[in-house]
């Protein structure tokens, strides 16, 4: 998701092509081609420019509605819905089986269609297989010198990442298992409770908000094209 303004001018984008299974958009003002996943101008008059990323989450609708009860939701186009052209409910499983065109010298650390959670912090990038987070959440890790936390929502599908420092103090989090319908986190330092939005809801740190880190959910083959130096999270011996 990107801001449409480049050098003070609002651009209007159209679908224009595909580049290694990631789409190209073309702006109507200059005709420049932009890569969707990176926001970078790849061909044309604005080549080299970079769109500014708009922070966003990928959430299940139920979680989003709980967090943003006054929000608005994009409606389907009636004709396209009537023609049944929108993605079916199981589209994710279908796309997961589609083939991938690859060169021979590619990074084989993960299978091409592995769903990864891609993080970029301090110019370093790291990919976390979604399955690793499903096996163990939250994940406490370091990217460069930044302590981060990856967190799976109670729907076992939505994901958020945070910088886990509060006022210079590094926190460790644990999921509190109980009769809650929503996710309950507790930090080991102050025993404060936290929710999926990264906000402390009770305890010493009540009211504090962890800084969110953008998570790009992507297929491994796509992530490594745009992050050739990426690290890969490894659970390691346990």
């Amino acid at each position: 998701m990107w801001e449409s303004t480049v050098d003070g001018r609002v651009l209007h984008f159209r679908l224009a092509g595909i580049n290694n299974q990631n789409f190209i958009m073309r702006d109507e003002e200059t005709g420049t081609w932009w890569q969707q996943v990176s926001g970078k101008a790849v061909n044309g008059p604005l080549k080299g420019k970079q769109l500014k990323r708009v922070f966003h989450d990928e959430l299940s609708f139920a979680i989003w509605r709980g967090e943003a009860p006054n929000g608005r939701v994009l409606r389907p186009d009636e004709k396209i819905a009537a023609a049944n052209d929108y993605a079916p409910a199981d589209w994710e499983a279908r796309v997961g089986k589609m083939r991938v065109v690859e060169g021979t010298d590619v990074d084989q650390r993960l299978a091409p269609r592995t769903l990864v959670l891609g993080l970029e912090v301090d110019g370093k990038s790291k990919a976390y297989p979604l399955q690793a987070l499903r096996n163990q959440s939250p994940i406490m890790d370091m990217i460069g010198s930044t302590p981060i936390m990856l967190l799976l929502g109670h729907d076992k599908r939505s994901v958020r990442a945070f910088d886990r420092r509060v006022d210079g103090r590094r926190l460790e989090f644990f999921e509190q298992i109980g009769e809650h319908t929503m996710l309950h986190l507790v930090d080991g330092e102050t025993n404060s409770t936290w929710n999926f939005e990264g906000k402390a809801t009770s305890g010493l740190l009540a009211g504090k908000q962890l800084q969110k880190i953008f998570v790009l959910e992507d297929y491994w083959f796509d992530w490594r094209i745009y992050h050739p130096d990426t690290a890969v999270y490894d659970i390691g011996p346990r």
């Binding site: 801001e3 092509g17 580049n19 609708f61 509605r65 186009d77």
Partner: protein, 174 residues
């Protein structure tokens, strides 16, 4: 005007052959310029920065080039038609039809045939969005206190939707 046309078309036999050659070469060139990017940037194919640059240049210039070539070929054809036999006229038609098709194609965005754009997106209140299931995933954005959800099943079709959230013009992409 007919006088100009007659003089223009007053080719010797040798010149006629040259005109035929030019017509043939131009027709092939125009088809190549329009069709090559369609093949180069097809889904499920590997692309390189070079093939992208090639495709970009061809897509950018093909609307103008196809128009110029179409006009040229039309002019040549008038000459070849006059005094041409039925088979050379038939051959002209066979040659011109794909050129006109390419001229039209150069003005089309065939990616939007597959995925129709959503030029006037409409929105529902979150409490009234019965078209989304609880388990459906959404792209969620909040700017300046305004929150918007873009259901991924819709976004996976349109791929991009322009919006203004909290006063900021954005393009939601998937």
């Amino acid at each position: 005007m007919p006088d100009v046309l007659t003089r223009f078309c007053n080719w010797t036999n040798a010149n006629r052959k040259l005109v035929w050659l030019a017509v043939f070469v131009l027709a092939v060139a125009v088809l190549a310029i329009v069709l090559t990017p369609v093949f180069l940037i097809a889904p499920f194919k590997g692309q390189t920065p070079r093939t992208m640059q090639f495709s970009f240049v061809m897509r950018r210039w093909s609307p103008l080039l196809t128009l110029i070539v179409s006009a040229l070929l039309l002019a040549f054809s008038v000459g070849l038609w006059r005094g041409g036999r039925w088979w050379s006229r038939a051959f002209l038609v066979i040659l011109l039809l794909p050129v006109f098709a390419a001229t039209w194609m150069a003005r089309q965005n065939h990616f939007e045939w597959m995925f129709n754009p959503l030029p006037n997106p409409a929105y529902a209140k979150s409490s009234e969005a019965s078209f989304v299931d609880n388990d459906d995933r959404v792209l969620a954005v909040t700017i300046g206190g305004e929150s918007v959800a873009y259901p991924i099943r819709i976004m996976a079709y349109h791929h991009l939707v322009q919006d203004t959230v909290g006063g900021t013009p954005i393009v939601a992409t998937y």
